[in-house]
Homo-oligomer: 342 residues x 2
Amino acid sequence: MGRITIRDVAQAAGVSLGSASRALNGGKHVSARIARDVTAAAEQLGYEPDFLARSLRTRSSGMIGCLVSDVANPLYASIVQAAEARLRDAGYLLVVANTANEPARERAAAAEFRGRRLDGVLVAPGSDANDETWRGLVAGGAAVVILDRDVPDADGDDWPAVLVDHRGGAQAATRYLIGLGHRRIALLTPGTRMRPGRERIAGFQAAFAEAGLDPIGAIVSAQETSMDFAHGDALALLGAADRPTALIALGTRILAGALRAARDLNLSLPRDLSVLSVGDTDLAAVHAPAITALRWSLEDVGRAAAELLLQRLRGGDAGAAARALLPVDLVLRESCAAPAKS
Amino acid sequence: MGRITIRDVAQAAGVSLGSASRALNGGKHVSARIARDVTAAAEQLGYEPDFLARSLRTRSSGMIGCLVSDVANPLYASIVQAAEARLRDAGYLLVVANTANEPARERAAAAEFRGRRLDGVLVAPGSDANDETWRGLVAGGAAVVILDRDVPDADGDDWPAVLVDHRGGAQAATRYLIGLGHRRIALLTPGTRMRPGRERIAGFQAAFAEAGLDPIGAIVSAQETSMDFAHGDALALLGAADRPTALIALGTRILAGALRAARDLNLSLPRDLSVLSVGDTDLAAVHAPAITALRWSLEDVGRAAAELLLQRLRGGDAGAAARALLPVDLVLRESCAAPAKS
DNA sequence: AGAAAAATTGGAAACGTTTCCAAAAATGAA
DNA sequence: TTCATTTTTGGAAACGTTTCCAATTTTTCT
């Protein structure tokens, strides 16, 4: 004997197929007696509904996709974790796909998601240029929420998105360093074109501008990816005669490279060099001295994204594009101080 | 007009529904002419098959589940990442679910997976005791591969599993420290009951035994989770008169606590204390001095698990349980040295 | 060339649900 | 009590595929 279907349940309860379905779905239009009999029969037979059949009929798979460059990146891992928790509570399954920031893989994944009729997609695009892909996803009936990117909107409609206030954070961090007396500050960041990097640079420069300082002191050292930052780059930067007195480094990898370079050059923190981490990683918290850092809640990003998506799924496609802007905090620790008098 | 179905394609190509399906599935029993016409029509109409309908008919969803305590744990994140890559190549989608190591959530997720007809599941059980859950998954027709756990086998059949040689690794690490002259070595590890922890303790003690040393020197400090290790524990351990001269610490969190404690007590590494990390984290690599560590490839775990699963999916359920045992390497760095003469 | 075998084809059933529709039953009003 | 209205019910259609079966065509062999 095969699997228990709703047909078996209906038969056992002595009612029609349709009634059994209605009873099980808790819907209206069912008498108390039938509801009781059917649930009892289902219980007794150990009936488990088949989601695939249901999905086919209802044209909704009950699944949400998550499209990021790399789930192993702690940044995205935490977002995925939080989003999964929220979506699971709402009865959705989360499927993940890595894009390695390649538009071709983004397109392929989007096509697959469409074919599988995913109800919604959380996506952190790897480039600004790929927006027809997401548009296609929406055309296929999926709700799309963008994770911390600015996706251009062709027809004037904003994409629902969860954004982090990197600009405000970077500005606050830079302001803090300027307040300590630093005049030559370097910002080491990957990705100058896309949102997080671009916003950070903007905030960094805005802090210089608001202090009325010479922008010459605002040294932006940018690379495509954090992989591209070599240990040697940091050495060169810190070894120069007019080296910066403070450093803002993004992420574990760049921060680690910078710290190693400082060590190689016998620069003691925070006396000879102030260091500030963008992103509060294990390394920043545990390093001696502990690194002052910009922190924002990845869990909040995941949660907010899930919430936005659910809201969109429930409310139909009506309603204007909702966006959330999450705050960035400056966590003061031991790695920043006034620069040595020269 | 709605979505393009295979019916439309058949009509456009002037063939029957069945022939169109056969042509598109590249199967036999199709003439060259029809194959050509149908693919052309499909191309021209932009036909995209509906996976849900196909799944319903073929009784296979083309999806693999991944059941771990927490995707945000870098350990699992990397595994998920690698597994996803391999499975995606094979045409499968990966869905993730976090269990927080709670049996109830494991059961719930397994039930959902069964209802959704997932073809296979990668699972890192949170306890040994929950094996009927996985048995139920298999009964539901899913292939199951265990990630680095020993799941008891009731009826003598081994579970397919990808295992990491934690015992060998711990033994090699301990042997190395003993070789340097250490006689009092502490192992700080969470989870004494389950596989990784249990195996590590076994390897640790085996190294003492093979050296013919008094097991008194083998100090096992275990807690339920790495959260439970307080900074104070490490302080107490290292502050005692007969403190260990070497420390093996598992994971970023415990390692960080131990390092902080060492710093608080003004113990300089490696002169006053040798430290060895189980797991090669960012922190271990970047710390000054760099921490000698046990390393194994998480990517290999993910890849091997995916491979095992695919093999099982393709080959039907025939074939004995396959298991992979992955090696652990000792990465020598600067944090270990001979103990100071006392 | 004719028969037997093999390959191809169209039509229909099946997968397990939900939902529509019309018929039946129950309820309410007159 | 009778008719109008609402609620419940059973039967069937639909979702979009794949696959079975029988009928037809093509190929192969004698």
